[in-house]
């Protein structure tokens, strides 16, 4: 169970915070990310190849917005909890689902800001007893013209397992 009561968490549904700023899409980071996900397509490395394939310039892979978690893109006081300290035990938190909706591809040279809304918090019984707590966080990313680029929705689950160190 989270360190905070579920009723207190539910009260925060609908709150929105700026969680990403100055998220510049850098060529070197796109290449590094493409290698890390085992997609070495030349569109991620070579501007000519990207244009030949019909892109404006080098695009970022669809899941690249995950890199907005780097602290340098976070406003002061915002960490991996995206501004919502839900009292989840981090050792028991798993990533349940991730959804992206795109208005257009993300390109090298873009600079984005993101605002995150706590969309939902709910609990379910775990398969082996205990309680699982789910939180859905939706982040809207816009470019420097204020135009929507993509929306990322992340479902986090605090699993029902015992907390690490509880037996101490």
């Amino acid at each position: 169970m989270p360190a905070k009561p579920i009723a207190a968490l539910k009260e925060r549904i609908g709150e929105t915070y700026r969680t990403v700023e100055g998220f510049g899409i850098e060529r070197g980071k796109v290449a590094e990310f493409a290698r890390a996900i085992h997609d070495a397509s030349d569109i991620y490395f070579d501007e000519t190849a990207a244009r030949d394939a019909g892109y404006e310039t080098i695009p970022a892979p669809p899941t690249f917005p995950r890199t907005s978690y780097f602290p340098r893109y976070r406003p002061d006081g915002v960490d991996h909890s995206l501004g919502f300290d839900l009292g989840f035990d981090r050792a028991r938190v798993v990533h349940g689902e991730q959804e992206y909706e795109y208005t257009r591809p993300l390109y090298v040279g873009d600079e984005l800001v993101g605002d995150t809304t706590l969309e939902d918090v709910y609990q379910r019984d775990g398969r082996n007893g205990g309680t699982m707590t789910f939180a859905v966080l939706r982040t809207e990313f816009v470019d420097t013209d204020g135009e929507h680029v993509l929306t990322a929705s992340n479902t986090r689950i605090e699993t029902a397992g015992e907390t690490a160190g509880e037996s101490k």
Binding site: K29, E32, F33, R35, A36, I37, H38, D39, S41, A53, G54, Y55, P59, P61, P62, T63, R66, T67, S68, Y69, F70, P71, H80, R90, A91, R92, V94, H95, G96, E97, Q98, E99, Y100, E101, Y102, P105, G161, E162, A164, G165
Partner: protein, 133 residues
């Protein structure tokens, strides 16, 4: 209008032997530094047998096949659900299969099912991708 896609069209790709070094590279590339993905004593204390891969690493691996199938210019949605853990040494086989092709006001809407299975045939990611062309 495009006649490029038909229901049942299928695209596949397998990445073999995804190991701790891949989890570490993804941590460095993505900024996800949760120790549970690279610190075995920490993972065991949290009740797991070993470290396990970031869900978003598997989603990224799957995105290669989505890109090959649909391209990125027209990609509108990419949804992934993480249904089982990726353990060190797993093979990740992605399949993207076209499930619907419909003409709409904006163009041709192509929906595809995305699955990633490990070497035991266990699904580790299920999801969908949608393109409007």
């Amino acid at each position: 209008m495009t006649d490029e896609f038909a229901v049942g069209d299928s695209y596949e790709h397998t990445v073999e032997d995804v190991d701790r070094v891949d989890f570490v590279k993804y941590a460095g590339a993505s900024g996800d530094f949760n120790r549970i993905h690279y610190d075995d004593p920490y993972a065991r204390q949290a009740g797991y047998d070993s470290v396990f891969g970031q869900g978003m690493l598997t989603a990224g691996v799957a995105s290669r096949t989505v890109r090959q199938a649909l391209g990125l210019q027209h990609l509108r949605e990419f949804r992934t659900r993480f249904t089982a853990k990726v353990r060190p040494g797993d093979d990740l086989a992605t399949t993207v299969e076209v499930t619907a092709v419909e003409e709409g006001d904006e163009g041709t809407r192509v929906e595809a099912a995305v699955t990633v299975v490990n070497q035991h045939g266990e699904e580790v990611v299920t999801g969908t991708a949608v393109a409007v062309i």
